[in-house]
Symmetry: C2
Subunit: 289 residues, 2 copies
Amino acid sequence: MNALAAYLQQSSREVETLLDSLLPSEQTRPAILHQAMRYSLFAGGKRLRPALCFAACEACGGTRDQAVRPAAALEVLHTYTLIHDDLPAMDNDDLRRGKPTCHKIYGEANAILAGDALLTLAFELLAGSDLEPARMVMELAKAAGSTGVIAGQVEDIANEGQALDEDTLRFIHRHKTGDLIRAAVRLGVIASGTDQALEPLTRYAEHVGLAFQIADDVLNATSDSDTLGKAVGSDAQRGKQTFVAFLGLEKARREAERLVHEAVALLGDLPGPTAPLNDLAWHVIRRDR
Amino acid sequence: MNALAAYLQQSSREVETLLDSLLPSEQTRPAILHQAMRYSLFAGGKRLRPALCFAACEACGGTRDQAVRPAAALEVLHTYTLIHDDLPAMDNDDLRRGKPTCHKIYGEANAILAGDALLTLAFELLAGSDLEPARMVMELAKAAGSTGVIAGQVEDIANEGQALDEDTLRFIHRHKTGDLIRAAVRLGVIASGTDQALEPLTRYAEHVGLAFQIADDVLNATSDSDTLGKAVGSDAQRGKQTFVAFLGLEKARREAERLVHEAVALLGDLPGPTAPLNDLAWHVIRRDR
């Protein structure tokens, strides 16, 4: 296993251990709700956002312990967005990471409510942090709210199947994907207890976030169904606008690489280890999800 | 106008002024999202939860200013629960307070996302409080989460149209309605900066919360459609179990009165004025919504 794979696995394990201990058990009333929450939360994602949070905290000289609550909150919030995005009223997806989506198993009402409960839990996790809990809640709420992740999702749905300009495409991605990646890195910095690197690491995160989405579009256009865990080319089939549709495959790939180069160039002069942030930036454009 | 009506109006005005200044305008991108949020938020509810928060804060010797952020957060959170409860996948209601529900006007996807954005905003509001922001976030998150309001809604949906025992009925109401009323009073106490009355006022709130739901059932069984703002007797029509179905109309009315008597008996020995808490307790069983 290479260093990055080990880093992702460790981050995943630490987050899952905390979440397993804090989440009500599958027997806790209402059992179906807690089953639905755990089903989606422990569905085996790569835990990219927690890893970014840990890595940013360590790069700023903080410990992994300081970052574990915000890391868990990020994964919980990310999971809620996936559950709601997959709903029949939104993307109407039956599969997620190769498994039936939450509403396919637990029904639409319970999926909506499981998402609501996870969103709520994310803020409960942050409120229980030792360091700057209120500032962390504010950071995540702004990133996830009506001018953040949700703004991206609303515009994405509003423009589905329509021709849209590059400005709108960038708006959608900056918010829908970018804002949470940005928050992951910033929460890691805040958790470290020092703000010195907040500005350069915020820019790092913005580049990585955009590269992530471009790579996502490339992946959707080129992967086979097993790798992707959902139907191949589904974006193109629904007439969804992507960076690939805009730039073409090769230019999209090069743009993602350029952004990662810019991101890692911002990692000089930090008090802690920066190898994980460097590896994660390259990983987002080379991952198979 | 009597004293209580004036109190409710003042609370409503203060909360709406704050929310209007903090919420993105209807022109802010995505415009449809911010229109949907404002449509449901400014739909003219009685603002009972904010009033309870203000009243609890004042009864503990705090000022109205100290309570305005949590009061607003409570109304924002309450509004999200209404939007999601009305969805086709849940209660499938077309009318709310005599007006078309959020999803009837803005579509299902935008209604889900407007609810998500309001839930997120509630925590942003609390995180910006001067006093004990993290504790307030924790309080509201626990009340609203998977063992609070959402637990009540899941059990309500799971049991719709089925015979259920009184224990389940009480579980549903304690969480679906009670937990937020309890949080309203507790946040008011916390906002006042003194915890002395937290225990008796929590019990006050628990009694008032249960009385509220019993009165709601009585109202649904007896009111005309204009007063109610939705179809009359709709609970009975869907086979929804209510306290009226359990106890009969007269016993249900008496139980609500008994609970209010117990609640107001807890209002002795507080440093500030208790008339609003007294009036609000009686109001919940006499309101026409």
